[in-house]
């Protein structure tokens, strides 16, 4: 099909009607795929948050600056690896470890790794950048290192950590779509099916899939943004962070 024809086809009213009609008849499919999509992200980012926050706290400790540099650099490197390459490399590694090379597992591992950087980096930065005056005041009044961490540093870091989680999740909504290619399911399936299918049906699937992913990304951004706001102590809202 020539480009012009395809354009004309897509912009004609009836294709839009077709898309709508298809979506209307397939809400259950879309819903199921969305849930599948979310499940991958939830498991991956759930693990990512636990590992990332603990790692971030660990490397923020005194005398671990070099380790922190290294960890941040490595997680930064991970995130520059293209998702498709990541899936490929994980297939090799997981295969060598005797785990399943396709489907849910590599998808979750990849997304967890991608999510690591924003979470580790934000946890680390937020803890390290708590104003020295506040730490000094806390220590001066006799807080132990553990109390400083749990009563001062972590509460102050929560909003920043949440911002990292938000960033990780939103990014992963898109990357999870690619995971359909390695059989992990999710909304990406619609897109890949559609792109392989010729004609109008293919366009419909691509458009519905893409829009669903886009909406999911925007929605998770919004929801996590709201959570981020709620996780921010009132005294910190409005940008007044220092003392």
């Amino acid at each position: 099909m020539r480009v012009d024809d395809r354009l004309a086809d897509l912009y004609s009213v009836d294709v839009l009607q077709d898309i709508w009609a298809w979506a209307n008849n397939n809400w259950d499919t879309i819903g199921a795929l969305t849930l599948q999509h979310l499940r991958i992200i939830l498991v991956a980012n759930g693990a990512g948050v636990v590992v990332g926050v603990l790692l971030g706290i660990f490397i923020s400790g005194r005398g671990r600056e070099r380790l922190a540099d290294l960890i941040l650099y490595l997680t930064g490197m991970l995130i520059t690896i293209p998702s498709l390459a990541m899936y490929g490399i994980l297939m090799a590694i997981l295969g060598a470890m005797g785990l399943s090379r396709i489907g849910f597992v590599p998808a979750v591992v990849a997304l967890a790794l991608y999510g690591l950087l924003p979470i580790v980096r934000n946890t680390y930065t937020a803890i390290v950048e708590v104003s020295p005056a506040i730490i000094d005041a806390g220590r001066g009044m006799g807080m132990s290192e553990r109390q400083l961490l749990t009563k001062i540093k972590l509460p102050l870091a929560v909003p920043v950590i949440m911002a990292g989680v938000r960033q990780a999740v939103v990014m992963n909504v898109g990357i999870a779509a690619i995971a359909a290619w390695i059989g992990a399911g999710g909304l990406g399936q619609l897109m890949f099916r559609g792109i392989q299918e010729p004609g109008r049906m293919g366009s419909i699937l691509v458009v519905v899939g893409s829009i669903s992913v886009a909406v999911l990304a925007l929605a998770s951004d919004f929801v996590l943004g709201a959570l981020e706001y709620l996780a921010t102590p009132r005294g910190l809202r409005g940008g007044a962070r220092s003392s």
Binding site: R6, A85, I89, A92, R101, A177, G188, Q196
Partner: protein, 248 residues
């Protein structure tokens, strides 16, 4: 220093894997070859680069003037709109861009390039705008006070100070695009993604997957390093150390 070392060693590992993977031949009785020929890998690297570079150039060509023009007149509605569009655009997955443009324009390199360029355009416009806007009014005032003409201020003050921010945007988007362009391989447009796709499609032949994956990763890491070096090089020495890349 340590960073450079880490980078170099990782690069070496990637390149080593790639060379090893491409050099071992097909093994015995297998129905499928275990590797694709090295020439194929090089060809796909070149295709991949083309997709990324052309898209980037298009985005820069359009984005820089728009970003610059936006700084000339104070149009609050427009800048707020820009912020909104950029933020929403960045939230949307790149994949959606590629698939939607492929659905509209038909599967092909044009669609991929347009999708990548569209996605990249936003941060470039934003960073150009932000970079120039971030120039301290006092500096501009001082320049005017010492008798610099309008274009001298643009050329000698605003652009040099904004370039690092713009470069940071270019760097981030390029690295991102290397990854996104790989998706193009999945839908049959070529590039390194095609090799990965093949490896997965014919039953998960790891060697083939790695032949595509390792160069893709290496390409991303290398471009990140190279553009990072350029970014540092174009950063006037006086403002080094200040967070030029923060806006990226």
């Amino acid at each position: 220093m340590r960073r450079t070392l880490t980078l170099l060693s990782l690069l070496a590992i990637f390149i080593g894997i790639t060379i090893w993977m491409t050099s071992i031949g097909p093994i015995g009785e297998r129905a499928w070859p275990r590797t694709v020929p090295p020439g194929r890998v090089l060809a796909e690297i070149s295709t991949h680069m083309q997709l990324v570079v052309i898209a980037e150039l298009v985005a820069i060509g359009i984005g820089l003037p728009i970003g610059f023009l936006l700084t000339r007149k104070r149009i609050p509605v427009l800048t707020r709109l820009l912020e909104g569009v950029v933020n929403t655009g960045q939230t949307l997955p790149t994949l959606c861009f590629i698939f939607l443009f492929s659905a509209i324009l038909g599967i092909g390199r044009e669609a991929v390039i347009v999708a990548l360029a569209a996605y990249t355009l936003l941060p470039i416009v934003r960073n150009t705008y932000a970079g120039i806007k971030a120039v301290d009014p006092a500096i501009r005032d001082a320049a005017r006070g010492m008798g610099m003409s309008y274009w001298q201020i643009v050329g000698k003050i605003e652009v040099p100070l904004a370039v690092p921010v713009i470069m940071a945007g270019i760097r981030t988007s390029t690295v991102l695009n290397v990854g996104t362009a790989a998706v193009a391989g999945l839908i049959g447009v070529g590039g390194l993604g095609a090799i990965i796709a093949e490896g997965i499609a014919i039953g998960g032949i790891i060697e083939i997957v790695l032949q595509g994956a390792a160069p893709t990763a290496a390409l991303a890491v290398t471009l990140d390093a190279v553009l990072g070096a350029i970014e540092r090089a174009v950063t006037p020495r006086g403002i080094k150390g200040s967070e030029a890349s923060a806006v990226a």
